[in-house]
Symmetry: C2
Subunit: 169 residues, 2 copies
DNA sequence: AAAGATTGAAAGATCAATCTTG
DNA sequence: CAAGATTGATCTTTCAATCTTT
């Protein structure tokens, strides 16, 4: 049951990982991407956890709110920007609320939606955490790339997320 | 406490997400990357879960073993290739073992290491699952990229993971 | 004691209901 | 009933010991 060794199999390099029905270039690219997707969030989580007791996801919630006009955003909109399920966001919002970093307000009078509002304490937390976080992003990612690579990465990432969203064909 | 609006701040576009102390290009690239890292594993997990009752991580374990000479790999080596903690791998191995897809063998006689071995049933499971998985990888990622982008993605991803590993400077 | 590996408890994510309001 | 949101149960991951063998 070993690998189907056809006549052409001169030497399969002992480089494992990734299915073999991809070309060598495709394998390399896929391996690089999947390892990045595996490690980067883990590294950011670890660092943010130590520095501020926040996960990357929690930090993004707070940072996002801090940039809004009234430090406010509807739950559904927030979930959509963060590419998160409403369920996940709701659990996270509860935790952040218990820590006093966020407050939730039921439909302000008009609609039936819930708004998440960043508290003053939450704002302070973002201010304290942001510089170190940006440093990490630079250190892990941005500083290592040329300007051309930066641009390439942006368009590649946008293409992939569009495809996942179904805006592909 | 609003955004530090220096004299140069003509109009901050209402595009949220990501710290503002990055340049516009950096923001765009970082946003694209972080969303990809957030969504891609989730999409693969979802699809593999439905198709084969496996997480992406579990699939990678099985696929990796299926490519080894004796369908065997030491736990530590496996963890290193997968960029996983030994703890995580051990939990996953236990689950896969309970499903009969993997078997663990204590040091074959010499060393003190444990080997994970893919069972016949595990091999069948990989064979059944692999084609659909590769299709997903193509659909979400590879098909959307030009040859040049593929190459760029590989070297960008390698650079980033090297930096996370500390092989940066 | 150090490397290899496992374990149990706690934290987080996902899934399938459920609740609420228009 | 449908959209917006929440909840509880379950599964997975992480973290901090612990165990074993050299």
């Amino acid at each position: 049951m070993a690998v189907k060794r056809a006549k052409a199999a001169a030497k399969t390099p002992p480089d494992p990982v990734a299915p073999r029905w991809l070309t060598a270039e495709e394998r390399r690219a896929w391996l690089a991407l999947s390892r990045t997707a595996l490690r980067l969030p883990a590294a950011l989580d670890r660092d943010l956890q130590r520095a501020a007791g926040l996960t990357f996801f929690e930090y993004m919630v707070l940072a996002l709110l801090s940039e809004q006009p009234g430090r406010t955003l509807g739950m559904t909109e927030l979930a959509s920007i963060l590419a998160s399920s409403l369920s996940r966001l709701s659990h996270v919002a509860r935790r952040l609320e218990m820590q006093g970093l966020v407050r939730r307000e039921k439909g302000p009078g008009v609609g039936r939606s819930t708004n998440a509002v960043l508290t003053d304490e939450g704002y302070r937390r973002v201010e304290q955490t942001a510089p170190a976080h940006v440093e990490q992003v630079r250190h892990y990612v941005l500083d290592g790339l040329s300007k051309a690579e930066l641009t390439a990465m942006a368009s590649i990432g946008e293409r992939i997320t569009a495809r996942i969203d179904g805006n592909s064909v």
